[in-house]
Each structure stands twice: as structure tokens, then as C-alpha cells.
């Protein structure tokens, strides 16, 4: 899960301080690994540099935690592009997919589309594996089967998530 | 927990399962209860029949007014004159009696508080209703007198009887059937049923009851497949084989007990309806329909026992294990040997009866006969599954519907055979009955020889002083709208040696119809030659008419007879033109006529009314080509009614079983339609699935029924003769069950055969 995309998504609902962004991120995406402050400010600096966020204002008192950030149009476009792009089907990409789904729900984008897009990518990969398996030798078959079962597990997770979208939406936007 | 306690608990569990498993198990139990109930009701009715007939016989005997004694009863203070009035209304007989007491202590019949006075009539309740109804005016002229009362039940054969007692003061003992009695009530010797008739009743009862038993056996199996699945589930949670059997027994027992209750209910309902129902002239008081106690107890014990027994037998063919039910039927081919035992035993029971000499008046042992017949009929149900299996195994596939049906029957032909065994038994019994009946009917039906092409009815008036003259009769006939009539006067004459002959007085025109006359003028006399063995009175010979002496005119000429229009026999006796008849010497003359009616509705009823105006004892009889024994008619009607009830019952059980089969196969059938199988093809295969076993069943029924019929004919000593037409008719009625069931299952099949049926998956 890319922290930068998560921040952009969180900022879409309104300008925010770095400290609040960290807290929101930890709550939604961090699971049991909270962000270090250093990571927070490094990420925000990078986003500023690329013009994806801008400073919305500095409150009196000084200190980095007093800066407020807002998302730019370029930032929104960047999120759009990221969400629309399926992840390369590979192992252990649930965290990324999860992040995308939560982000889509947070920003009011159609989360089901993300799942459908991803399923299409997965199925394409599975078709390719099925073809290879059909034309290959026993070793090929075993390797392909291994990959197929993992991809299938991903897809099952996707299906389940799709089925649970409503519940998830209620939780995320609460 | 004691052993008995465990038993009771498992039986109860079964009973509870039979009703608590939701709608399906409820409806199964209800279906069984209704089915068993219908069977029980029929059994109870049969068990009540002897009681009802006894009660009826007792009542009719108590009002009997014939006294067969050698010496005529002398007039006294206790005597009564009685005459029969043979009233017939439409197709029904009215039992009419004229009575005239000759003293203060004259007896009166049961059901009456006193004798009706002259000009008074006491009528039966149904006659009263009939007279009050729209047909009343058409019948009223024949009920002589003012209605002053109603006959009580004790004086009636049944609630539907039409009867009246009319008081008179003009009766005289004499040739018109007026007789003198001093008491009512049977004097002893009743004629008893003919042996053929007795055997007929036994055969009829067995033939009607065996299919009922088969039906009860089928009814306790309604919904068996679902029951089997439930038992498998029980087995999964740890019930062992014996427990499963006891639980199934409990279920069956509950169905049977509910069936007994339902049957008692149906029976009581039918009993109430019985007062309104009539079979021919036969009707029954509800109170007379009391099942004989022994038979009722037998039914109450046998039905639950049979139901549990059938269930256990069916379970014997199943291997119920936790994961489902396996039918063992296919693995074990059916053996013929023990299946043939029953019919053979039946025939062995009947063979010794062949030695009974019925002609010599020996009575057949009805119990042995019944047991033999029952064994043969029940044997059919044992042989049929074997036969169906055998035949079906040899069938080759052909067109698609045929192939589907044949393969299905090959998979489980025994089930199909069970379903049709009821029909086979009923049809076999009916054929045997029909064969026996045809013989009996031949023996009891007489060709009357009447000239029905020319005349419709015969009118006989009374004799003696004040009798209607030929002219009065002619006038009455004109009023009744008769188209043609052959009117003459007749009397019976007797010679001293006891030889009798007939004197007929009529116009030349009429006489020419009776004999071949070359010439005829008023004043002529003729002697009809008659047939062989008939005495032709010699001219001038002396005869008596009652007390009067009469001589045959010396100039009487011999002439050839023509056949009588009444009985087809040759006209006999003396034919006189009116001027040649010395009426004072022939006091017994009475007017008679053969009448042709116009085609008006109720023309015959009008004729009867006009005839009644000539006197209540005037007899009008319809001329028919044949005449049958009344008792046979009653028995036959009873048999027809019973056969219809049995066939309806069997049709119902086939319908239930067919619906269940469809329900079990609905998914497969829907899938076949989805694949593009035309519904027509499936309908045909379903039809064939029923038709093939029914055809086999009917074939067995024809063989067994004919064989049984032949044995029965030999039993009663009648020549063996097979009535092909009647057999075909019975077979046709049995076969009609196939289209009937097909039509009635049509809507359910239609629902299944919509491709949408696939969605029930």
C-alpha cells in the first residue's frame, strides 16, 4: 500500500494536518504498524514537489504539525489513475487491494469497479496459465496449478469483499 | 428404561414424525388416513349389509299377507280381505293393497295404528312426497281414496319404498286376487335364494372387497419415498435397524388409526345419506346399517395390523443406511413358485365344491367358496409383479416415448405392478361375476314372445258383477289416447276332469287377429286349434265357468290359430262373436286389451290412470320382449353400484401414486424439456408407463377371471359359456382408468413440463 496514494485519498475529503493524516492512516490502513512521523513528512514533501498537494495554510505557533495540506486537481487525477489500474496479479497483494477499496469507499468512488477490474486482470492471468498448462508437460502443469490456486484464492477474496462492500462502506464512512 | 418402554417410545416417535414433519408429512398422513378411511367405510358398509338385509327381511316377513294353507280360511270376526294393486309408476313398483275387514277383530299390518276405513288410504312417506310433488297428479288417480295417514317405518321394507293400504267395502273373494286372511306375518317357509343367487352374492362381496383390501394396502404406502428418506435421517442420528422398523411401524399405525376414525366418520356420513339413496326398489334405513359386531371388531384389528405388516414387508426390501436408501428389489429376481401358491390353493379349495349337487338342492358352503375365490383373486396381486417384470425385461426399445417408458418399467416394474394389481383384481372378479351372472340371467330371463312391434301394453280388467264392459274399456282406452287396441273378453272354463280352456268373445275384426278365419259373421263360433298338447274343446261339450254351466256351440268350426300378441303362443280355446256368447252362462268374462300407445310423454302413465278409473284392481302391464327375475335385477344393480365405488377407489389410488411419481421426477422431466424434448414425447412416455402394466394386468385379469368364471359355472351346474361382449366391456372399464389418470395428472404434468420447472432445483 502506497502511503502517498492513501494521503491523497484522505485529503480528497478535505484539507488536513500532517498529524491528522497520520492518525487517519493508522486507523484505516496501518493495521498494527503505525507510521513514523518521518515517513509522514517525507511523503508530504514528495507530494508537494510533484504538485499533487498544496499548502492550505499555516496556523500560528510554528512547527511542522501546524501546516495544513489540500489536494490539487493533479492529485485527484493521480488517485483516479491509480484506482483504475489493476494490480499485476501476483501473490500477497491483498493489502494493496484492500487499500484501494477503502480509499474508493472513502472518496465515494465505485469500489465494485475496482474489484471487477482486478478480477478481469486475474482471470486473464489464469487463462494464460490454463493455456500453458494445457500445452505444457507435467512440470509446467504443477507450476501453473500452484499459481492458479493462489490467483483463485485472491479472486475468492475479491468476491467475498465485493459481497461485503456494503458493510465495509458503512464502517469506513462512519 | 424397560424394553416395553423403549418400544412404546419408538412407536410414539414414529407417530409424532408422521404429523410433525411439516406440510409434506402431514399431507402424507392425511392422504393415508383418507385412503384407509374410504376402504374402512366400504368394509363397514359390507359388514353392515347382512344386518340391513336381515332387518329388511324381518319387516317384510312381518307384513306378509299370503297364507298358504290347504283349506281356505273361513269368514269370521278376525278375517280380512286383501287384494294386491299392482301399481307401477315410471320404472318403480308401488306396493298397493286393498283391505276390507270382515269383523271387528280383523288384524292390521305392522306400521299402521288401525285399518283404513272404506275410501281411506294410508301411504308410505315417500309416496306421500311423490304425490305432493310435480308428478303427483300423474299418480294420484291410482291411489284409491282419501289419504288419512302415513305408514310407520316398521311397515316398510325401506325408507324409499312406495306403498299404500287402501280401505274398501266392495271386495269379494274371487279370481281377481282377493283373498281372506286372519293374520299378517310370514307363515314359515320362505322360498330362499336360489343357489346361483347365493353364490353370486358371495362372489360379489369377495370381488368387491378384495380390491378394497388391495387399496388399503396401497394407501398405507402413500408417500413411502419420503418416509424412507426420513428413516435414513433417523438412522444417521443413531437409530438401529429394529428401532427404525418400530418407528416406521408407529407411523403406519397412526395412519391406520386415523384411517379407522375417518372410516367410521365416512361410514356414519354414508349411513345418513343411505336414507336418500335407492338401488332399484331397494332402500335402507340408516338404523338398519349396523356392522355386525364381530366383523366390526375384525376390521378394527385387521386394518392396523395389515398396515403395519405392509410397512414391515416394504422395509424388508429396503436397506436403510445413514447415507440414504437403497432399494434391493432389483438385486433379487422375483420367484414364481410361491407366487403361484395362492391361486393354486384357491382353485384347490373350489374343486371339492364341484361335487356339491346343486341341482339336487344341496347348498354350497359359502365360506369355502369365498375363501377359494379370495385366494385366486389375491393370488393375482402376487403373480402380477413377477409377470410384469418378466414381460418388461423382454421388451425392446423403439420410438423415444416407448424407450423411455420401457426402460423405466425395466428399472422398477414391481412398483408399477403393485399399482395396477387393484385394477387387475377388480376386473378379474368382475369377469368371473359377469360370467356367472350371464348364466344366472339366462336362467332367470324369459322371452315373453309379446308382439312389442304392434302393442305397448296389456290391460286386464276385473271380473264379476259390476265389471267394466268391453265398451267401457274401449272408452277408457280412447280417453287415454291409445292409437290402436285389440279388445276382447275372456274367461277360463273347466271340464269335469279338470281340463281347462279359454273362451274369448270379440268382434270378427278382432277374432281375425287371433285365428285364420275364412268367413266371419256375428253369431259365428270357432275352435282355435292351439298348439301341440292343447285340448281343443269339442263342439257341444259341457264346461263350467265358475258355478255356471256352458256348452260349446255345436256349429263351432275348427280354425288355425295365430300367435298371441301377448305371449307369442298359439291362440287356444273357443272364439265367439258377441251374438254367439251366452253371457249369463259365462259370468267370469272380463274385458282385456292389447294397446298401442301414441308416442306422447307419459302415455303409459295416462293409460294406467284411465285403467285405474275402471277399478283399482285393473292391471296394466307394459309389454316387453324379455322379462327378468326382479331379485336378479336388484342384485345386479347392487353389484354395479359396488363396482363403481371400487373402481373410483382404485382410480384414486392410481392417481395419488402417479402424482407422487411425477413429483419425484419433476427435476429430470424439466431438464428433459429444457434440452428440447417435446412435452408431447414425455406425455406419451408417461402414458405408456401406465398403459403397459395396466394392459398386462388386464390380460392376467381376463385369464384368471375367465378361469374363475368357468369354475363357478361348473359349481352351479350351468353350461360353460363365455360372454365375450361382457368381458370386453369389463376390460374396457378397467382400461378406462388409464386415460382417466392421464387426464387428471395432466395439469400437474403440464406445470412440471414448462421449462421454467428447472428453477425448482
Amino acid at each position: 500500500m502506497q502511503i502517498s496514494k492513501a494521503f491523497l485519498g484522505l485529503l480528497e475529503s478535505g484539507p488536513s494536518h500532517g498529524y491528522d493524516l497520520k492518525r487517519a492512516y493508522d486507523e484505516r490502513f496501518g493495521q498494527d504498524r503505525p507510521l513514523a512521523y518521518g515517513q509522514v513528512y517525507a511523503t508530504l514533501q514528495r507530494l508537494l514537489k510533484h504538485g499533487l498537494v498544496e499548502l492550505d495554510g499555516i496556523e500560528p505557533g510554528g512547527g511542522p504539525e501546524r501546516k495544513r495540506y489540500a489536494i490539487t486537481d493533479a492529485g485527484v487525477a493521480d488517485v483516479d489513475l491509480w484506482l483504475a489500474q489493476p494490480e499485476r496479479p501476483e501473490q500477497y497483494l491483498q493489502t494493496t487491494l484492500y487499500g484501494k477499496v477503502v480509499l474508493a469507499l472513502l472518496t465515494g468512488r465505485p469500489a465494485a469497479d475496482i474489484l471487477d477490474t482486478q478480477r478481469a486482470a486475474h482471470l486473464d492471468a489464469m487463462r494464460e496459465l490454463t493455456r500453458r498448462k494445457r500445452d505444457g508437460d507435467l512440470a509446467d502443469q504443477l507450476v501453473c496449478d500452484h499459481a492458479l490456486f493462489h490467483l483463485e484464492a485472491d479472486l475468492r477474496w475479491l468476491e467475498l469483499t465485493a459481497a461485503r462492500l456494503d458493510g465495509l462502506r458503512a464502517q469506513v464512512t462512519s | 428404561m424397560s424394553r416395553a418402554g423403549a418400544w412404546a417410545r419408538e412407536l410414539l416417535l414414529g407417530a409424532r414424525l408422521a404429523v410433525s414433519g411439516g406440510r409434506a408429512s402431514w399431507s402424507r398422513t392425511a392422504m393415508t388416513a383418507v385412503g384407509v378411511g374410504l376402504g374402512v367405510a366400504l368394509l363397514l358398509l359390507a359388514a353392515a349389509t347382512p344386518t340391513a338385509l336381515d332387518a329388511r327381511d324381518a319387516r317384510t316377513a312381518a307384513r306378509d299377507d299370503f297364507q298358504l294353507s290347504d283349506a281356505p280360511t273361513a269368514r269370521g270376526p278376525r278375517t280380512l280381505l286383501v287384494a294386491d294393486v299392482a301399481v307401477r309408476f315410471r320404472d318403480e313398483n308401488v306396493r298397493g293393497r286393498l283391505v276390507q275387514p270382515e269383523g271387528r277383530q280383523a288384524p292390521f299390518p305392522p306400521g299402521l295404528a288401525r285399518l283404513p276405513g272404506a275410501g281411506e288410504v294410508v301411504v308410505s312417506p315417500r309416496l306421500r312426497r311423490l304425490l305432493a310433488g310435480s308428478d303427483g297428479p300423474l299418480l294420484r288417480p291410482r291411489v284409491p281414496g282419501r289419504i288419512v295417514g302415513t305408514i310407520a317405518d316398521a311397515g316398510l321394507s325401506g325408507p324409499g319404498e312406495l306403498a299404500f293400504w287402501a280401505g274398501r267395502d266392495d271386495l269379494r273373494v274371487g279370481p281377481d286376487g282377493v283373498r281372506r286372511i286372519d293374520r299378517f306375518g310370514d307363515t314359515g317357509q320362505s322360498e330362499g335364494q336360489s343357489p346361483i343367487l347365493a353364490l353370486l352374492v358371495v362372489v360379489a362381496l369377495v370381488v368387491l372387497l378384495v380390491p378394497v383390501a388391495v387399496f388399503v394396502g396401497a394407501a398405507v404406502r402413500f408417500g413411502g419415498e419420503e418416509r424412507d428418506r426420513r428413516l435414513a435421517a433417523l438412522s444417521l442420528v443413531g437409530a438401529d435397524r429394529r428401532m427404525v422398523r418400530r418407528i416406521a411401524g408407529g407411523e403406519a399405525l397412526l395412519g391406520a388409526l386415523l384411517g379407522l376414525v375417518a372410516g367410521a366418520g365416512f361410514f356414519l356420513g354414508a349411513r345418513q345419506l343411505a336414507s336418500g339413496a335407492r338401488v332399484g326398489d331397494l332402500s335402507v334405513f340408516p338404523g338398519d346399517l349396523r356392522p355386525a359386531t364381530g366383523l366390526a371388531v375384525l376390521i378394527a384389528v385387521a386394518v392396523p395390523a395389515v398396515s403395519v405388516g405392509v410397512t414391515q414387508l416394504a422395509l424388508g426390501r429396503l436397506a436403510i443406511d445413514p447415507l440414504g436408501v437403497v432399494r434391493r428389489g432389483g438385486a433379487r429376481p422375483r420367484r414364481l413358485a410361491w407366487r403361484l401358491a395362492l391361486p393354486v390353493l384357491g382353485l384347490l379349495l373350489l374343486v371339492p365344491l364341484l361335487r356339491t349337487d346343486v341341482a339336487a338342492g344341496e347348498r354350497l358352503d359359502p365360506w369355502l367358496a369365498a375363501a377359494g375365490i379370495a385366494c385366486v383373486l389375491v393370488g393375482i396381486t402376487a403373480v402380477l409383479p413377477w409377470l410384469v417384470e418378466r414381460v418388461v425385461r423382454g421388451l425392446r426399445p423403439g420410438p423415444v416415448p416407448w424407450t423411455l417408458a420401457v426402460r423405466r418399467l425395466q428399472a422398477d416394474g414391481g412398483a408399477a405392478a403393485r399399482v395396477v394389481s387393484g385394477i387387475a383384481v377388480a376386473v378379474a372378479g368382475a369377469i368371473a361375476l359377469q360370467t356367472l351372472f350371464a348364466a344366472a340371467e339366462d336362467a332367470s330371463t324369459v322371452q315373453t314372445g309379446a308382439d312389442v312391434a304392434r302393442y305397448d301394453a296389456q290391460v286386464l280388467t276385473t271380473t264379476g258383477p259390476g265389471r267394466p264392459s268391453a265398451e267401457q274399456l274401449r272408452a277408457a282406452l280412447r280417453r287415454a289416447g291409445a292409437e290402436a287396441a285389440l279388445v276382447r273378453e275372456k274367461t277360463l272354463i273347466e271340464r269335469r276332469d279338470g281340463t281347462t280352456s279359454v273362451v274369448t268373445v270379440a268382434s270378427c275384426r278382432v277374432l281375425r287377429r287371433l285365428a285364420v278365419l275364412r268367413s266371419c259373421a256375428d253369431g259365428d263360433a270357432f275352435l282355435a286349434r292351439g298348439g301341440p298338447g292343447v285340448v281343443v274343446p269339442a263342439p257341444g261339450s259341457a264346461w263350467r265357468d265358475g258355478r255356471a254351466r256352458w256348452r260349446v256351440p255345436t256349429e263351432a268350426r275348427r280354425v288355425a290359430s295365430r300367435p298371441s300378441v301377448i305371449d307369442g303362443g298359439p291362440t287356444e280355446g273357443v272364439l265367439l262373436t258377441p251374438a254367439a256368447a251366452d253371457r249369463r252362462a259365462l259370468p267370469g268374462l272380463s274385458a282385456a286389451a292389447a294397446v298401442r300407445l301414441d308416442g306422447r310423454r307419459d302415455a303409459l302413465e295416462h293409460l294406467r290412470n284411465e285403467a285405474a278409473r275402471l277399478g283399482p284392481l285393473t292391471v296394466v302391464s307394459e309389454l316387453t320382449a324379455t322379462r327378468a327375475d326382479g331379485e336378479f335385477l336388484v342384485v345386479r344393480r347392487g353389484i354395479v353400484a359396488g363396482a363403481i365405488a371400487v373402481l373410483v377407489l382404485i382410480g384414486a389410488s392410481m392417481l395419488v401414486s402417479a402424482l407422487q411419481q411425477l413429483h419425484e421426477r419433476r427435476r429430470l422431466l424439466a431438464a428433459l424439456v429444457a434440452f428440447g424434448t417435446p412435452p408431447r414425447t414425455i406425455r406419451r412416455s408417461v402414458l405408456l408407463e401406465t398403459a403397459v402394466p395396466v394392459a398386462l394386468g388386464l390380460a392376467v385379469a381376463v385369464l384368471a377371471g375367465t378361469a374363475l368364471g368357468i369354475v363357478l359355472l361348473r359349481l352351479v351346474g350351468e353350461p360353460v359359456r363365455i360372454d365375450v361382449g361382457a368381458t370386453l366391456l369389463v376390460v374396457g372399464v378397467g382400461a378406462a382408468v388409464v386415460p382417466l389418470v392421464t387426464v387428471l395428472t395432466g395439469p400437474a404434468l403440464g406445470r412440471i413440463l414448462r421449462p421454467e420447472g428447472l428453477r425448482t432445483e
Partner: protein, 230 residues
Amino acid sequence: MTGPAARPLLVGTDLHKAFGATTALEGATFAVDPGEVVAIMGPSGSGKSTLLHCLAGIVRPDRGTVRFDGRDLATLTDAERGALRRSAFGFVFQFGQLVPELSCAENVALPLRLDGVPRREADARAIAWLERLEVADVARQTPGRVSGGQGQRVAVARALVTTPRVVFADEPTGALDSLNGERVMDLLAGAARESGAAVVLVTHEARVAGWSDREVVVRDGRTRTTELLA
């Protein structure tokens, strides 16, 4: 696969279907080209099977049209649709489709016999298909006596014996283990591709969908066709 110029063989447009109060389809759209294998996917109760039934002319949609080879199925009589299903379509279901009393060979020959093919010839063709699906050894057995995998191959043989133009398969491997399911799918997809038949495959298993060329997802009675960015 056929070229892109070919007109879609079977097209369902804006299909609606309700069973009583339950809405099964609410604007589903679907198209399949000759020789194409399309998987219909979606959670249970989403309307997958109803969509298949509508496309196959088994169920009449309340609204929308189904065209096969340019012909609107709604204009056909029941009998004509039955004939169409018999001759132009083939069906493989999860279970309950083989007549239990007929032998496997007779089951396969059944559609041919319904079309009036003489028994001898129908039998020969049925045996040939059973051989092709590697189950010729059970030809004379009844379906109750063969394994699930064998039974399903018999069902595939029956679906293909009339050389249909579309094969409808509703969870064809639903009752089979992985290896058997794989064999059945290999044979089904392979045989269909060889004969140029289109396959409409309803499944909720991604691995089964791996044999398809393309998938259509049904959710809440609507179809979502995903076009890959790329």
C-alpha cells in the same frame, strides 16, 4: 476464434425477469460470438442461471430480447424453441440431467433420436462421442452406476452429439473434484472449440472460468462487462 467481423451468434439485450416478488434479472446484456467461450460469473443468487435460461430460450424474459443467429426467440412458438434447443443448443448441468433408467449410450443418443435419427445411427454416433470423452467403457451402464466424473462426461457427450452451435453449461464441474472438473472442462472446451460451437459457461469458480475467452459478471441481476485498460 472467429474474426471480429462476425456478427454475434447469440445476443441478449436488456433482459428483465422476476419470479413473483423476486427479481432475478434487471437489465442484463450478453453476447457471444461463434466459437467463443464466455464465462458468466457472479455470487449465488445474482441471476447467473436465470440469464442462461433466458439465453437458451428455456425461460421467457419479462422484458428485453434474445436473438439467436438474428432471430428473436420471442417470436418462436414453444415447440419451435424446443426444436431449437434440441438441434442448435447443447446443455450440461450440474446434475439431474441423465435419465436414470436409460444406459449412458442411450442418454447420449436421446437428442438424436428426438430429432428422428434412426436408432442404429444414433447409437453409433453416441458411442463415438463417448469414446472421444474417454468413457466408452460405461456405454451400457446406467448413470446410477458410474462415477460423477464419468457421468458428467456422458452429459458433455450428450450436449455435443448434435453438433450444437451453442453449448450452455451451468456449473458443469460443480459436483466434481479438481482433477475431474479439469478433465471435463478440457474436453468440453476443447470439443466445442474444435466444432466451432460457442460455449456459455455459468460458474462461480475462477479456475473453471480459466477455460473461457472472456467473462461476464452478473451482480444483482445486472451484467458488468469489464473492458481492460490497456
